[in-house]
Amino acid sequence: MRLLLQLASVAALVCSTSLAPAENATPPKAATLRVAPDFTRKGLDGKSVHLGSYRGKVVLLNFWATWCGPCITEIPKFASWQTKYGAQGFQVVGISMDDDAAPVLKALPKLRITYPVVMGDVHLSALYGGVLGLPVTYLIGTDGKVVARYQGEANLVEMEQKIVGLLPQKKAP
């Protein structure tokens, strides 16, 4: 188990090299985040995921884990929204807080996740005020500002209404 802890620390240090300067500042309080902290990570599909590159889109940033029951309940809905609203300027990004990637890679096809997923670490967690309970979901506006934060299992009907209201490109009548 000590080995796991050491691996987590090493992974965190390695990943920290690609982070924005904001990460070096005092960790913000999660509830007071105004602008979504930027980050770049390698996605589980091998492609780079840079949050800032989604500026202009509405982003749903979801911290989750394979062992988290409420997370698994929500994810199929997020995947369906990606399909439904993707062309209207909507993007889901998943951050897995699993301790290693193996169970996540196994879960992706079962959950029908087609959006980018990256592995979380202590630095990414700190960047968002310390992720100390799952799920946590941020809705980020087209300007990069945090519109809403959902801790625990969210009201998905309400969340979808909010997303639709924020979409930059409305569906053609």
Binding site: L4, L5, A8, A30, W67, G69, K110, A126, L132
Partner: protein, 158 residues
Amino acid sequence: MKLNRLSVLVLLGAIIALLPLRSVAQQEHVPASSIPQASLIQPADLSAALQSSAPKPLILHVGSVLMFATAHIPGSEYVGPGGKQIGVDALKRRVASLPKDTAIVLYCGCCPWGRCPNIAPAYNLLHDAGFTNLKVLYLADNFGTDWVDKGYPVTKGN
């Protein structure tokens, strides 16, 4: 009769469709609500106990290593996720040489109490092993909301 058959088929279809999701989350979820109330300790009470001069219990974290590294109770030890075999084995090893009356507090706080996959299996393991002075920290929502945000003592790292 036809309607009944159709209903059964629809029900079976729904069950089959949901099976993969269940297997992702947990093989068998043991709910935290199965832990007796008398075995729970409230955050305020544990925090007060930690700040008193009384002997401290052994505090074991049975959740995610990433969350432990992000923040944990000072003096607590990381064991492993109680809902996974790796955590179960680590917990068995950790308590193997301890007297059965050792004061132990278990905590996780990864998820809302009723959905935590780790805490009840860890409690059941120690309870069934005969530990008599066993408490579980009651974290209704999660460790962040019910401990860190309340201003109780926290430390970071491993």
